[in-house]
Symmetry: C2
Subunit: 319 residues, 2 copies
């Protein structure tokens, strides 16, 4: 095993210890659909997604390292917002979350209910990075980036660490791929477990920047924020840390893309056969399975979350 | 502990050993909704409901006791059909299932896919018991009753036995109540664990025969098959064995009823907050929780299954 992998798996293991009191050990479920599948159901994680793993590791590490920060800041319209809010409240730090003005009001309310200050005024998907820099400077807050952060990557890796502790004989690990935080962590845990364990990232074809980056051997950014049912993976580009882990070091074997129809079918299949209420992003590995893109053998799927918009899902279920 | 309870908990424990190779140990999930809740998610059981616990215990016990039966027969339009088909196939016995002609074609197909012979012609909800007696006599088959059978009751009790092994400090156990097989088994396991553990059955107000039987201290039957979203508990009356366990011996503390609106709200809450795709029957304890009828403390809920009709559920989700 390489020095790079040694160092990072040690950090993932340390993250697991650090966050243990604050997160749930989610089950690795089996299903009648296919005896080879193992489902890491992160929809049962606190706040309904895997995101607290990274957020807790980042914020607890910040406080451990000192000096104590004034507070933390994040930009997110989704699961990262709630995760940062919860982790900050747990350690007694103020949290400021920038959420684009057109975001789902239920998610804004959930973030506020966790004690965070939310700013939506004049925040758009396009200008949110600039607004973030302004607010960071103005209030001297520390950024918790959703994926371009080693602590976050190591925290997300704990999901795969747990899955492999429960199911050591997997042939494939598949995870959703947006900014690459979850998949980078998964790849570190998987390749440290066995170099033969195949690691696959699943991305919507409509948001295929990471697929293109993998093919081009450099970071390729989309020109605009993509439209996809899988609203958790609408990032336009991965960043350096994620590129290095996944493609530079080659810890990810393959990126596969799925169509919107396959994502919709995956949400339906998750309900009817897996009995899991997944958000479309969380169902991405199921979509790749339906499309026959995960190969055969024992396949571990990281099903990343369950915070679906109910109207969207109800529409999908009857298509 | 009474001799009655001693004898029956021993049979539940024996059932757990007997069926172990054939069923899944489902997780006891926690949820952000309420830190006191523990969810025994039987939607993840083989075939998508708790029913194989009882069916396997009954059919394996039949074969153990000998002489080897010609085959088994059951009448069911739902989860018991698939459970009996699977258990019979596993031990190599033919299974004949009578399913009313107007049943959900998907459930008929699932039962046939498990190797059972299905008869639907001239089978109605009203005449099915008579047709059953005719076919039993004609083919010399052994009945696997869905709830009026000690082996079935003991098998269903294993769900609560597992839940209490994982969560020994519960104050309340709540389970759906139709024919009473699941609740009878739950009551035996719960009261053997602690006489202080409160056992609650949850029934739709539209199908309240067990509630009336509890109040009347005798079996009260409904005049006709009730209409309720919770199509797994449409039985018109419990039977002697269930009455004895639940009310005669007093192992069930309370029966509560829920409205159709509460059942619909429970299915929605299960999706949005519990991230479980439950069938309406499986959500009955959640409905009672919403209605404030389960009291406080640590509440274990047996969420019995997830085989929902997708169209029905999609309609409920957007109500």
């Amino acid at each position: 095993m390489s020095e790079f992998l040694d160092e990072h798996i040690a950090a993932v293991r340390a993250a697991a210890e650090r966050i243990r009191p604050h997160v749930r050990r989610t089950p690795a479920l089996r299903t009648d659909l296919d005896p080879g599948l193992r489902l890491k159901a992160e929809c049962f994680q606190v706040t309904g997604s895997f995101k607290p793993r990274g957020a807790f590791n980042a914020i607890l590490s910040l406080v451990e390292r000192g000096p104590r920060p004034n507070g933390v800041i994040a930009v997110s319209s989704g699961n990262h917002a709630q995760a940062v809010a919860l982790a900050a409240r747990t350690v007694g730090l103020p949290a400021l979350i920038l959420i684009p003005a057109d975001a789902n009001p239920a998610k804004v309310a959930a973030t506020r209910a966790l004690g965070a200050e939310v700013i939506q005024e004049n925040v758009t998907f396009a200008n949110r990075e600039q607004r973030l820099r302004e607010m960071m400077a103005e209030r001297q807050l520390t950024l918790v980036h959703p994926f371009d952060d080693w602590d976050v990557i190591h925290g997300q890796g704990t999901a795969t660490l747990e899955l492999l502790a429960d199911e050591p004989d997997l042939d494939v690990i598949a995870a959703p791929l947006g900014g690459g935080g979850l998949l980078s962590g998964a790849a570190i845990a998987a390749k440290s477990h066995s170099s033969k364990l195949k690691v696959v990232g699943v991305e919507p074809a409509a948001a295929d920047d990471a697929y293109r980056s993998w093919k081009a051997h450099r970071i390729v950014a989309l020109e605009r924020t993509p439209a996809t049912l899988a609203d958790g993976v609408r990032t336009t580009a991965i960043r350096e840390r994620n590129f290095e882990v996944m493609f530079g070091r080659g810890l990810v074997d393959e990126v596969v893309t799925v169509t919107e129809d396959e994502i919709a079918a995956a949400v339906r299949l998750a309900w009817t056969r897996l009995h899991l209420a997944l958000e479309p992003t969380g169902a991405l590995p199921v979509a790749a399975y339906i499309a026959g893109k995960l190969g055969t053998g024992r396949i571990g799927m990281i099903l990343s979350g369950g915070n679906a918009n109910l109207e969207t899902v109800a529409t999908l279920l009857t298509q």
